[in-house]
Amino acid sequence: MTIAAETDPSPAFHTIRLSKVYGDGPTAVHALRDVDLDVAQGELIVLLGPSGSGKSTLLNILGGLDRASSGEVWFHQTALTAMRERALTDFRRRHIGFIFQFYNLIPSLTARENVDLVREIAEDPLSAKEALDLVGLAERMDHFPAQLSGGEQQRVAVARAIAKRPAVLLCDEPTGALDLKTGVRVLEALAEINKRYRSTTLIVTHNADVARLGERVIHFSDGRIRTIETNAVRAPPSELKW
């Protein structure tokens, strides 16, 4: 399966009445309710909202990690909602870079090898050194995760996510476990990559100040989009505080 991405003028993501319900009957949890959203290619969006508001659920469905209960998700011209498991795996493999709060590096592989892991299944990847250079970690690329600080580990996770030059970067609380200084370095890396490669970037956070980084800020509550703001002036990561 090939999916037109970078050169396609259509929205990177387009969702129609997207809903997600966990469980059924009286214990059912409505994580997403009728979400309609367009995300342009290369856009950097911040998803903001309290815990359980549905922002991570949306991120997971867009990334092919989870399935919607109803509604549609389109990635350019391709309906993700119609895809089977294998196709979703392939979709993640080709187009998506994920970054989580807890880094999720493979502890038995060095920084370089963690990046290499992704390069093995990518079509035209960056070299491990290029990817780690982008996050300022080329010097420490032969260290194992246990030998790196939390911020460094998250930057390796960023490098691993971008090594395959993904069309989309999905970041779920990427600075959630980091202090300000290291968090800023991670956000700088994300912003730099978004700028350089025009990767569509969605950052989930509950930190309001991080919202100043995005072109648009989508506010979630109770599984719905409450408001969408557009930042006329985006703040550089170095000005963010939490």
Partner: protein, 792 residues
């Protein structure tokens, strides 16, 4: 009413065990297998010993016996006067050729006289059906149960017998068993052929008339006073009977039936130790794997318990209890299975040995031993993990664990790792990082392979033994034994029997061999040079010529005498002229069956001053004239017996199949439990530990198959490492076990059997593959988001 309220910790314990039910089941099954064999073997051994002791006591089994040529009845009084002889009975004993219409070949029987006064005071009979013969009727007889059953002989049936050259028609009035003949095989045969050989008891007067033994006897049996000096009584008996052609008094150790029983009991002992030990070790390994994992996942709970004020000992006891529960479940399973297995085996034994009763019963001590062994095994398995829980400081336990620290490998391994893809590198580094656990898995799988190597070695060794004995060493169709040695000229008549293609003479003498202070009673066989039918087997397993000079000893015999080539030993005939001589050992041979001594036939004749006399002949037959040959044989009174090789082979094969065959299925089933249990536990632990890495791989876009590679790959690398270890271990165990199972009757040598190794490896890998496949299904159910969003 007392209400039992479980403490919260105990409720947690039960839930923990339920959560670990797969591990618990593996441990319980492995323990169950081992302990069932333990209870079965120890119980069966005790049951057999008790049954034998009771049978011998109830039916007054003889302690000593002596065969002689002929002694007048008055000698019995001299024998009775020997100190410590509690009872003596004289008998007339001999052999008869039977004409049984149901079978083509001639059958034969051991004839034994019953005392004039009624029932025997020694070696009494256990009557199954019918009555005792009427002393007034010469033709009435009792036959042994196995023989009657095999030929469907009923009370009142007639049996045509040629006794001492005269034809008699006997009437069967009773069917019985005797402690003397628990195991019955014809002279020269190793295994029972109940349709061709039986025991017939007749009235003393009738038998005396048939054998021309009126007023005389040729067999004496003795019971001794408690605490009697067996050796001294034997010498005294020999003193009395030497003049009457006695070949020496002997004890139960030289009675075929008792010897067989003793061998059986010995083998049960070997089995009671070997297999269970194997399984207990594996169970300890499995507990180690399972509990290690539990303690790792329970880190924060351990911290919490300690923070609440539970002592180290209380925490240790809490986790040790889960291991003990595994042990107790396994011990219960093993106890039940052991009794079921024991009862099934007891049925086989009862039928095979014709005991009047044989009930399997395992004593309380046996069960206590099994349960204690289970508790010790799981405790040893638990001790390291529990110790880890004890050592964990509460603050440290409550903090998230530090990520596993990996380091780069050095040298060769690093160069090798550099050439691998990232997924393979994950596998390699995990093995390097957790060597003890990897070793545990490797050893567990290796033990399963070893068990299978041993299990598949047994049939191969049997096949080898049968093929060497029946295709290389003995290629005759039939072996005839004469009642008494004959001149070599008789070969002319033998060669002219119907259908005889070729004939070779042999000579056999019962002798005592002495080397230094060691003494063994055995047979020495004289074989002709250039023999084509019955041949000697050298240590290379190939046929060889009999020694040009000196005597060749079977390996087991040489070991008993501590004699080797070049040593001079003493040889003494136990009957006839009782010639004594010294002779040099010229070679050690490996006949596989029997442990005789061998000479060339001319030397042996000259040694015993009977040149040119032979004991029997080996014949090859024209199959087309088989019936004619046998018809003629049934009319030939001068024969003590005829051994048909194909039938001997069949009976031997049957005996092996019943014994080794059944055990083999058990071994294979147990090995499957072992390999499956180890692989399953290892796979579950790997899966639990790598859940996060596997989810990461899936999120990064690796397919299920690719993610499975990391999980399954690790297990397979360990399984591959286990292969050479398992093969070596299996070989060592095999060699050791073959030695343990060696008896006077067979010498087993472990043979390298590539098919057996291939089977052991393939079977174990299949078990590992099945276990990995089942655990791998977990990857399909992996909650990627849940795992990755959770803190480690």
């Amino acid at each position: 009413m007392v209400k039992l309220v479980a403490r919260p910790l105990d409720r947690k314990l039960l839930r923990d065990v339920w959560r670990m039910r797969i591990h618990a089941a593996s441990v319980a099954l492995v323990l169950g297998c081992g302990l069932s064999v333990f209870i079965m073997s120890v119980g069966m051994r005790a049951s057999l010993e008790h049954t034998r002791a009771d049978y011998y006591a109830d039916y007054r089994m003889m302690h000593l016996a002596a065969s002689l040529v002929r002694a007048p009845d008055r000698v019995a009084a001299d024998l009775a006067r020997i100190p410590d002889v509690a009872a003596i009975e004289t008998r007339i004993s001999g052999y008869a050729l039977l004409d049984v219409p149901q079978i083509v070949e001639p059958a034969s029987a051991r004839l034994i006289s019953l005392p004039l006064g009624g029932r025997p005071r020694i070696n009494d009979l256990a009557m199954v059906r019918g009555r005792w013969p009427d002393p007034a009727k010469a033709d009435e007889a009792i036959v042994s149960e196995a023989f009657a059953t095999a030929l469907d002989l009923r009370i009142g049936a007639n049996l045509a017998a040629t006794i001492h050259g005269r034809r008699h028609v006997l009437t069967i009035v009773g069917i019985a068993n005797s402690p003397e003949f628990v195991f019955v095989s014809a002279p020269g045969e190793l295994f029972p052929q109940p349709e061709r050989f039986g025991v017939v008891w007749m009235g003393r007067t009738a038998l005396a008339r048939a054998f021309d033994m009126s007023g005389a006897f040729n067999d004496a049996i003795f019971r001794l006073s408690p605490g009697a000096d067996d050796q001294r009584v034997r010498s005294a008996i020999d003193e009395v009977l030497r003049a009457f052609g006695s070949s020496g008094a002997y004890g139960r150790d030289r009675m075929m039936s008792d010897r067989f029983l003793s061998e059986e009991i010995k083998q049960l002992t070997t089995m009671a130790i070997f297999l269970p030990a194997f399984f207990l070790v594996i169970a300890a390994f499995l507990v180690n794997i399972a509990l290690g994992r539990v303690i790792a996942t329970e880190r924060s709970n351990i911290g919490l318990l300690k923070a609440f004020g539970y002592s180290d000992l209380a925490v240790a006891w809490h986790y040790a209890k889960s291991a003990l529960m595994f042990g107790l479940i396994g011990a219960s399973l093993g106890s039940i299975a052991g009794v079921v297995l024991g009862r099934a085996i007891a049925d086989i034994y009862r039928d095979y040995y014709h005991f009047p009763t044989l009930a399997f019963s395992a004593g309380l001590l046996t069960f206590a031993g099994a349960w204690a062994a289970a508790i010790v095994a799981v405790s040893i398995g638990a001790i390291f993990s529990v110790w880890r829980a004890v050592r964990l400081a509460p603050a440290e336990a409550l903090a998230p664990p530090r990520p596993a620290v990996y380091s780069r490998s050095a040298g060769m391994l690093a160069r090798f790792a550099a050439r691998l893809d990232a997924k393979s590198r994950i596998i390699l580094r995990r093995i390097q990082r957790f060597p003890r656990r990897a070793a545990t898995t490797v050893i567990g799988i290796a033990l399963a392979i070893a068990l299978l190597v041993v299990a598949s070695a047994f049939p191969a060794v049997m096949t080898q033994l049968l093929s060497v004995h029946f295709s290389v060493a003995n290629r005759q169709d039939v072996t005839l034994s004469f009642v008494a040695p004959r001149e070599i000229g008789v070969m002319h008549a033998v060669a002219h029997l119907p259908g005889v293609i070729s004939a070779e003479p042999f000579r056999a003498d019962d002798v005592v061999l002495r080397h230094g202070r060691l003494e063994v009673r055995e047979a020495v066989l004289g074989l002709p040079f250039n023999a084509r039918l019955s041949r000697l087997i050298g240590s290379d397993g190939q046929a060889m010529e009999p020694p040009v000079a000196g005597i060749a000893l079977a390996r087991a015999l040489a070991a008993k005498l501590h004699a080797g080539p070049g040593d001079e030993i003493e040889i003494e005939q136990v009957s006839g002229r009782r010639v004594q001589a010294r002779i040099r050992v010229s070679a050690i041979v490996d006949p596989m069956v029997g442990s005789s001594a061998y000479m060339n036939i001319e030397d042996l004749g000259r040694l015993f001053r009977e040149p040119g006399r032979i004991s029997g002949a080996h014949l090859s037959l024209d199959p087309a004239r088989y019936a004619a040959f046998n018809a003629q044989l049934k009319e030939t009174p001068a024969l003590a017996g005829a051994s048909f090789l194909r039938q001997a082979e069949r009976s031997m094969r049957r005996a092996f199949d019943e014994g080794v065959g059944v055990m083999n299925y058990l071994y294979i089933a147990f090995a499957a439990v072992m390999a499956g249990g180890v692989a399953f536990s290892a796979a579950r632990v790997t899966m639990a530990e790598q859940e996060r890495d596997l989810a990461t791989l899936r999120v990064l876009g690796f397919t299920r198959g690719e993610a499975s590679y990391v999980l399954v790959g690790e297990l397979f690398v360990l399984a591959l490492l286990a292969i050479p270890l398992g093969c070596v271990l299996g070989t060592i165990l095999g060699i050791w076990l073959m030695r343990l199972f060696q008896t006077d009757m067979y010498s087993f040598t472990f043979i390298f059997n590539p098919g057996g190794y291939a089977f052991a490896i393939a079977f174990t890998l299949a078990c590992v593959a099945s276990a990995s496949f089942i655990v791998r299904l977990g990857i399909d159910r992996l909650d990627m988001v849940g795992v990755l969003k959770a803190r480690d």
